[in-house]
Symmetry: C2
Subunit: 329 residues, 2 copies
Amino acid sequence: MVTIRDVARESGFSSTTVSIVLNNAPLARYIPAITKKRIERAAKKLGYRPNLFARSLRSKRSHTVGVMVFDMTDPFCTLVVHNERSRFERYLEMLLDRRVEGLIVVANWLFLDINLLADLEKSSVPAVIIGRELDTDQISSLIVDNELGAHMAIEHLYALGHRKIAFIRGPKALVDTSPRWKGIRNFSKTSGLELDERMIMDLPESRDPISSFDAGYKLTEELIKRRRPFTAIVAFDDMTAFGTIRALAKAGIRVPDQCSVIGFDDVATCGIYTPSLTTVRQPLETMGAQAVSILVDGINAVLEKRESSALHRKMAPELVVRESTRALS
Amino acid sequence: MVTIRDVARESGFSSTTVSIVLNNAPLARYIPAITKKRIERAAKKLGYRPNLFARSLRSKRSHTVGVMVFDMTDPFCTLVVHNERSRFERYLEMLLDRRVEGLIVVANWLFLDINLLADLEKSSVPAVIIGRELDTDQISSLIVDNELGAHMAIEHLYALGHRKIAFIRGPKALVDTSPRWKGIRNFSKTSGLELDERMIMDLPESRDPISSFDAGYKLTEELIKRRRPFTAIVAFDDMTAFGTIRALAKAGIRVPDQCSVIGFDDVATCGIYTPSLTTVRQPLETMGAQAVSILVDGINAVLEKRESSALHRKMAPELVVRESTRALS
DNA sequence: TTGTACGCGTTATCAG
DNA sequence: CTGATAACGCGTACAA
């Protein structure tokens, strides 16, 4: 491995000067161009690459942020979250051991009981959690405005003329469930839309995401069996909606001709589904960008020993109209 | 930050002893249990966490492997690969700077022209590439047996009684395209199945994956327009198959009642599609596991200064029969 | 069985 | 403008 000293020797200067030049440190202003050239040439010639371990050891900076994602698609992950809360702690520990300067946690689904706060807060590492509402002043949070989103969904169907609408709500234990339902209820009040108890189903508490599809399927079957006439279904999320669509297809009910379906999230599959799924989009890219920006601010605050309190933002969702909803004719 | 010296002070021993004990080094065998206990207690009490930078600097090991994934779902990534080959090099450089001890590259889609070999080979870091056939003895490779997979697909349709079969082949520039077609041709020869030129389409060269869906849609429309009667379609991959299904649906052709469709890959969407998609599965978990195992061997070889040459494995695909294919009645 | 001393590669400090 | 020196935290010959 070629070290800074090798470059020093090759260029004929001291390692100090080399360091200053190659890092473009403030002092580099006083170093003549010719010296710089020679050092840079030597470095390039030897293929010098600074040792990040030594650098981090010395500077106490890792230039690294941690990102924790629980991809519930992965059956292994469900285990992670199901089984032991200690796993989360272990992974967090690993990241902290690597001296991450910031942390982004993407909490899709079931961060119900896991009390991240406890472990995370004391780490004093700036952190942003996406998908879970918080009110700490230690950890920032970014969520979609669930209430507004649900409101937009039902409003869309209402505008299309639908009045007999069925609902598949989320599992009670899930934080997103209640605000979404609140959005529906509010709309119902202001618009006069009637909500028929017998056309409201609840997803079971299972934390498995695929179960969301299966449950959507089964609950829709049940809905059909009840023979209450409905012309549209609001599904808790896209996976549920896909289950719903399949159940309808199986029963010979065409979407959207005979029944409209709307989801929530706008997962990648929505656009390629047959029919493509109308849904309420979570602006994930925006949230990601915001998370980064918040994190960078937080990290800078730490570096400059400033105080900076956590931010909590509720992002506006976006209605994405595709093929699965249609005006009542 | 609490250092090993703090633990030494707290426990009353030297930092050497502490290091030996906490790392369970060979010499730890000679250290009395009582000493160990006291050191461990002190470490725990102070919440000691070894500084990985110092450790890596000293031991010259990072205990880290790099994983490069090009998720073509992400529009940003298409840029990465499209634009400049230099990006790949830059990312590789970043990983090498972090002293990864091994490297896994997941090459979904379009690793056509990018000549990883050049950059990667000289890095002398054990590497495994998934999804691209290689024959170097520097870099291991893991791919699915495309020829066999295509053979299984067509055989499945044939067994169901289909004889008039349409094909959407991959882009010519893509490495997977030709072996898959070879599998089809072979089956055609041995079985006597006729391949009708007019029912064979090719995906355009575009590298964008969503275009695979769109192209599948358009080519299927074209296929329908030609009015050659077919009872089944073999799509190049699942995305293409989804496009095909939508086009058929649009044309009022029911899948699988009036036309069977089969894909390739078994992406997550297959199971939740309506109808769910019969496809040829790439055993990605297995490939992942194998990659890790190969990598670990390679890393160990390096540590022990052994020679070890690259492995090249072609994994057997698996036919996953779902709803989109049906026996001709 | 335990401790001293050194080196890993960088960079900050300070002297010249 | 440049260079010597120390220190970051850890692990390990070597000595005791």
